[in-house]
C-alpha cells in the first residue's frame, strides 16, 4: 500500500533522493520471509505467553525477591567500601595539610583548561576497549 522511501543513491559521491520509487528486497530469501510474515496475523507473531503453574509462579516470585535482596546487599557493600575509601583520602589529605602544606598544595592543585587527561582513567573492573592509544601525544606544555 505504502511505498517505502528510496534509499539515497550515491553515484559519483553525490547523494540523490528518488521519491516514491519502490525498492525490492535485494535478497530473494529475505523477500520470501517478509512475504511469509506479512500473511501471518499479528497475534501469531507475538512470543508465546509463559503459562506457569501456581507453584511455579510462587517459586519464580521467591527467586526474584531473593535475587533482589542479594543484589541490594552487594550494592550496599560496594557503596560502603567506596565511602570508606573516600574518607581515608580525606584523612590523608588533612594529615598532609598539617605536616607539609607545600606538598598539600601540589597534591591538591587543580589544573585549569586541562580536562580529563587521557593518561588518567577511572578504575574499572575490566580493561578498556582500546587498551593502548598509539598516536597519543601528551598535553602541550606552554613555554614560560
Amino acid at each position: 500500500m505504502f511505498k517505502s522511501f528510496a534509499k539515497p543513491q550515491s553515484s559519483s559521491g553525490v547523494l540523490t533522493f528518488i521519491r516514491g520509487k519502490r525498492i525490492s528486497a535485494t535478497n530473494p530469501a529475505t523477500e520470501r520471509i517478509v512475504q511469509q510474515l506479512s500473511v501471518l496475523a499479528a497475534g501469531r507473531k507475538q512470543p508465546k505467553l509463559l503459562n506457569l503453574s501456581n507453584e511455579d509462579i510462587v517459586k519464580h516470585r521467591t527467586i526474584m525477591s531473593a535475587w533482589k535482596l542479594f543484589t541490594r546487599k552487594k550494592k550496599r557493600a560496594e557503596q560502603e567500601q567506596l565511602n570508606q575509601q573516600y574518607e581515608s583520602i580525606c584523612n590523608a589529605m588533612n594529615d598532609l595539610k598539617e605536616t607539609s602544606p607545600a606538598l598539600f598544595e601540589l597534591a591538591s592543585h587543580k589544573e585549569k583548561r586541562l580536562r580529563f587527561p587521557l593518561e588518567m582513567r577511572f578504575p574499572t573492573e575490566y580493561p578498556p576497549n582500546r587498551p593502548w592509544v598509539y598516536n597519543f601525544t601528551g598535553p602541550v606544555k606552554k613555554r614560560k
Partner: protein
C-alpha cells in the same frame, strides 16, 4: 521427563531434612499453623518432594503435559535459604521487641511497640512461599485475619480493585458530596442480601448496581473488614440513607433514613453483621429498623447510600426521625468517623407494591412524567 528426574535426583531440595536445626519458616512452635500451606500435594511440589507435577493442576493429563522451567527447583532452594535467613533476623528483632513490650506499662508506647512488631512480622512473612501461595491462590475468606501478613495481603488486593470501584461509584453517583463531604476509606465494606434465592441477587453487591425492590426487602448482611490491628473490639455504626426522596413543597429532594445500627462490636475476625447476630442482639444495636427504599412511579432512580462509621464513644440507643434526616449533623454530633461506604440504586418496578404492603407503607403516589416547575426549585 527423563531430564527432570535426573535433575531432581542430584539436587533434590528437602526442607524436612533439616529437622535437627529447624529454621524459622518450618518451625511452627511459635508461629501460627495458618501460615502453613495445608494442601499436601501442592506443598510437596513446591519443596520438590514429589515428581508428579504441580498439585494445583487437578487434571492428570494437564499435569503430565506440564513442564516446569529448567533448574527452577534448585534455584528456588537457594532463594529460599537466602530469604529464610533474612526472616530469621527479623524474628530475632521481634523477640527483642516482645521482651521490651512485656516490661512497658504506658499505653501509648505499648501501641507503638505492637505496631513495630506487626510491620516486622509482615516483612518476615510476606516473602514466605507458603504464605504467598495462600494469600494469592486460596479463598480470601479462609485466610486467618489475626495474622498481620494476611491482612496486609488482603489490603493490597482490596486497594488494587475493589477500593477503586467503590470510590469511582461513590463519586460518579455523587454519594460524595450529596450525603457526606468525603470519605477516607479504611476498611472493605461488602453487602449482600442473603434472603434472595435467585442467584442473580444473592451474591456480594457491586457498588452502584441497580436492584429490584424485592431483592432488597430484607436487611442486608454487612461485612466490615478492618486491615489495621484491632485490640479487643471496636464499635461501629451503620447508616442507610436515601438522598433522593421527593420533597414536593420545595420541589426538590430530601434525605430519608432507612436503617441505622450503632454500637456493633467487631474485630478483624468477627467482621460481619448478619441475620444471626441481629436476631440475638438486634435490639441492642438498632436505632432505626430496616425499611427498604420503595421508589414511587415516575420518580428518578434513587440511591441507597450505606455508610459505615467507627465510633469514638458508645451511642445512646434512642429513636431517630427518619424524614428530613440530616446525616452531616448527626455524624458530627455523635463523633462518628466514616471508614467505608457502599451504594446501590433502585427504581420503580413491579415488586414495589408488594414490598410496600409487606412494610405497611400504604399505596404509593404516581408522579407526572415531567417534573413541574411550581414552586421553582431553589
Amino acid at each position: 521427563m527423563l531430564r527432570r528426574v535426573v535433575a531432581r535426583g542430584s539436587k533434590e531440595f528437602r526442607r524436612s531434612n533439616s529437622t535437627s536445626s529447624q529454621k524459622v519458616w518450618s518451625n511452627f512452635s511459635k508461629r501460627s499453623p495458618s501460615l502453613k500451606l495445608s494442601n499436601e500435594a501442592i506443598n510437596n511440589n513446591l519443596f520438590g518432594k514429589s515428581t508428579d507435577g504441580p498439585g494445583s493442576m487437578i487434571s492428570h493429563s494437564r499435569r503430565a503435559a506440564y513442564h516446569s522451567p529448567n533448574e527452577i527447583d534448585s534455584t528456588f532452594a537457594m532463594a529460599y535459604e537466602i530469604l529464610e535467613q533474612k526472616a530469621e533476623d527479623l524474628y530475632n528483632q521481634v523477640e527483642k521487641l516482645e521482651q521490651q513490650l512485656a516490661q512497658t506499662k504506658d499505653e501509648e508506647s505499648i501501641k507503638q511497640l505492637k505496631d513495630q512488631i506487626d510491620t516486622l512480622l509482615i516483612r518476615a512473612e510476606i516473602q514466605n512461599p507458603e504464605v504467598m501461595y495462600n494469600s494469592s491462590f486460596n479463598d480470601p475468606d479462609s485466610l486467618d485475619k489475626t495474622q498481620p501478613v494476611y491482612r496486609k495481603a488482603l489490603e493490597q488486593k482490596w486497594k488494587k480493585y475493589d477500593l477503586m470501584v467503590t470510590m469511582q461509584r461513590l463519586e460518579q453517583l455523587h454519594v460524595i458530596p450529596d450525603t457526606l463531604p468525603t470519605l477516607e476509606p479504611k476498611c472493605d465494606v461488602k453487602i449482600r442480601f442473603g434472603h434472595n434465592s435467585d442467584s442473580e441477587f444473592s451474591h456480594w453487591i457491586v457498588p452502584g448496581e441497580m436492584l429490584p425492590t424485592i431483592a432488597v426487602s430484607q436487611p442486608p448482611t454487612i461485612k466490615i473488614q478492618e486491615f489495621e490491628r484491632v485490640d479487643g473490639k471496636n464499635l461501629y455504626s451503620v447508616l442507610l440513607v436515601n438522598p433522593d426522596t421527593p420533597d414536593l413543597p420545595a420541589n426538590s429532594f430530601s434525605t430519608t433514613l432507612h436503617y441505622a445500627l450503632a454500637n456493633v462490636p467487631l474485630d478483624n475476625v468477627d467482621n460481619t453483621i448478619d441475620p444471626s447476630k441481629l436476631l440475638t442482639k438486634g435490639e441492642e444495636y438498632t436505632l432505626a429498623d430496616f425499611e427498604p427504599l420503595v421508589p414511587e412511579k415516575n420518580t428518578p432512580t434513587q440511591r441507597a447510600c450505606l455508610w459505615v462509621f467507627r465510633q469514638t464513644k458508645p451511642l445512646d440507643i434512642k429513636p431517630v426521625a427518619r424524614k428530613h434526616f440530616d446525616i452531616r449533623t448527626f455524624v458530627q454530633e455523635q463523633g462518628l468517623i466514616p471508614v467505608g461506604a457502599h451504594v446501590w440504586r433502585q427504581g420503580f418496578d413491579r415488586s414495589v407494591n408488594q414490598v410496600r404492603e409487606m412494610y405497611g407503607l400504604g399505596k404509593g403516589r404516581v408522579f407526572h412524567r415531567v417534573r413541574g416547575i411550581e414552586p421553582l426549585p431553589q
